[in-house]
């Protein structure tokens, strides 16, 4: 039997018996375990590239409950590359204004008003089930176009045996167990990752002794579309901090920090949740409770995200506090990073060593997220008397003095990871602009009525801006597509890609990160940089 661990919001992949269940184990190039946002995004990416992929999920669809609600611009750009971005932005709530309160008083207000020339907003709020559904919808469309993606619902992996050049999985189903072989296995099976346990891998870091109560309430109240955050909130029994944030469908996320020593069952009783929400929203506000949950969190990661033929991605590999929206957003960057590497290695176009760079680059990203989210947590929940004194001193000063506002940390919101100084990077022969340096993801810019990222082709791209393109259409069998543009009359493109240079050539990876850039370049130089990005450099 397969255990039911949660309720389903959208039943998208009901169990169906497949012939493989009665046959000797079949070998698959890639098996992904876990059909959450990370596993599905990876499956979609691989399938679009034509690499066959099998997703095993122990449920029959997307889990109920809003969970991750805050999706960052980079995530939307990745979703756009995969064809699922527009549906998310259309459904999501765009927000820019945040207010920070201490007790009854407003400390300050900030505006994330994104700079011009980007297709996507800085953030949208969207319930996780929608996010996942839009990716699965896109998988269905891709399947119709022939993408070799297969999803098997109610298939729970209960055993894993590594072999020399593959792994063997035991899969439990309503019709009993069967076995599946995978050349490469990707564990996207969440924070409690059963695969991680099966492999006996440790998961170390800081556990924060705190409980947070989430209440999603549905109401047609007249609150503005803003993020309101309270330190030491004034409403009764609301704990150390509280958050109010809007989602689609007239749903509001309310978050209370309850402390460590609580009775979970008691706190989750409807009358107790309602007492807190009533105190926050004020008398006479009618609402229904859509979803409640109590969560704790850790800031930790695995030592390495690749273990021979097995990769770990998303919460299975790393966890952070929710402050800063760095959970799902960083997991999507894992998928973005791994897909093209696996695809090229499976096609025999890149050495297996390229796959080690997945771990190096995403460990780097996880460390950045853990550092930021640990710092935010230390500010939100002072661990000593003196840290509480300093925290409140910052809040007191921030009301009057601008200098103290950058010190207020209610979560540093997710920004894309830059792979500074890592092994796939080629030369950076432009000093500016810093934001598009080697290792950074390409920054969006306006292009006539559309935007730059929409014009980037799949695969490796040579972006030539007011610079001649060298004659090079492929490197060692890996296609290289040229995109030649002019920054004349396009000051934002010039500002983001040229700085003081008259022209520039950028080599971009399939995940849109910058491999190398030059004021002008020869075919040999591009070839060398691309070989570096394919993991072909010795040592």
């Amino acid at each position: 039997m397969v255990d039911v661990r949660y309720d389903i919001a959208f039943r998208l992949y009901p169990y169906e018996k497949v012939p493989d269940q009665d046959l000797p184990p079949k070998r698959h190039p890639v098996v992904i375990v876990g059909g959450g946002p990370i596993g599905m995004a990876l499956a979609l990416d691989l399938g679009r590239k034509g690499t066959p992929v099998l997703v095993l999920d122990d449920h029959e669809g997307v889990g109920h409950g809003s969970r991750a609600i805050c999706f960052a611009k980079r995530t939307l750009e990745i979703a756009d590359r995969l064809g699922a971005g527009q549906a998310m932005v259309d459904k999501g709530v765009v927000w820019n204004v945040g207010k920070v309160f201490h007790g009854d008083d407003q400390v300050f207000e900030f505006n994330l008003q994104p700079e011009g020339g980007h297709k996507n907003p800085a953030f949208i709020n969207l319930q996780q089930p929608y996010f996942e559904k839009f990716i699965v919808d896109e998988i269905r469309r891709a399947q119709d176009d022939g993408a070799p993606i297969e999803i098997r619902g109610c298939n729970a992996v209960t055993g894993l045996t590594p072999a020399a050049d593959h792994v063997v999985l035991t899969v439990e189903t309503p019709d009993g167990p069967y076995r599946v072989e995978a050349d490469w296995l990707v564990a996207c099976d969440g924070a409690r990752s059963p695969l991680r346990d099966m492999m006996g891998l440790s998961f170390e870091g800081r556990v924060f002794e705190d409980n947070f109560l989430i209440a999603d309430v549905k109401m047609t109240a007249d609150f503005p579309t803003e993020r309101w955050f309270w330190f030491e909130p004034p409403f009764k029994d609301s704990g150390q901090s509280a958050l109010l944030h809007k989602q689609p469908d007239d749903i509001w996320r309310i978050d209370f920090q309850l402390g460590w020593d609580i009775d979970r069952a008691e706190e989750l009783k409807e009358e107790n949740v309602r007492a807190r929400v009533d105190a926050m929203l004020g008398e006479g506000v009618a609402y229904t409770l859509e979803w409640t949950s109590i969560y704790t969190f850790q800031c930790r990661r695995m030592q390495a995200f690749r273990h021979d033929r097995v990769f770990f991605a998303g919460d299975a590999a790393h966890q952070v506090s929710p402050f800063g929206a760095r959970g799902a957003n960083s997991g999507i960057q894992d998928a973005d990073n791994l897909a093209w590497k696996l695809d090229l290695v499976i096609r025999g176009l890149a050495p297996e060593r390229l796959l080690d760079s997945y771990s190096d680059e995403r460990v780097h990203g996880a460390d950045e997220n853990i550092l930021n989210s640990t710092r935010a947590t230390d500010f939100l929940t002072p661990k000593s008397e003196i840290s509480q004194i300093f925290r409140n001193a910052v809040l007191a000063l921030a009301r009057e003095h601008a200098f103290a506002r950058p010190l207020v940390n209610s979560g540093r919101l997710s920004v894309p990871c830059v792979y500074d100084g890592l092994s796939l990077n080629g030369p950076d022969l432009l000093e500016w602009p810093k934001r598009t340096r080697v290792g950074a993801p390409a920054v969006d810019a306006p292009l006539g009525e559309s935007h730059l990222l929409d014009h980037l082709p799949e695969g490796f791209t040579l972006l030539c801006i007011d610079a001649p393109a060298p004659d090079l259409g492929a490197v060692d069998g890996v296609p290289l597509t040229h995109l030649s543009l002019s920054a004349e009359g396009n000051p934002l493109l010039a500002d983001r890609y040229l700085g003081d240079a008259a022209g520039a050539v950028y080599l971009l990876r399939p995940d849109q990160h910058v491999v190398a850039r030059w004021p002008a370049v020869s075919a040999d130089e591009v070839r060398a940089a691309m070989q570096t990005a394919l993991g072909k450099d010795a040592g």
């Binding site: 004194i389 001193a393 910052v394 200098f403 103290a404 010190l407």
Partner: protein, 64 residues
């Protein structure tokens, strides 16, 4: 820039008076809060993180 640990306040006794006067009539908690605010105000004025690191080290040394 390096941290100046030589005498730099023209009227030391006058400054000391100011410091104590600022705490006049405050409870221990209020004084602790004032000190924290003062540290943050001064640290921002200094700005240079190397100098701040040296200052933290100099202050910390006395308690070890």
């Amino acid at each position: 820039m390096t941290l100046n640990l030589e005498p730099n306040i023209p009227d030391p006794d006058g400054f000391y008076d100011l410091l104590l006067a600022a705490h006049q009539g405050l409870s221990k908690d209020e004084s602790d809060a004032l000190n924290a605010r003062l540290i943050l105000v001064l640290a921002n004025h200094v700005g240079d993180v190397d100098v701040l690191r040296e200052a933290l080290a100099a202050a910390r040394k006395r308690s070890e």
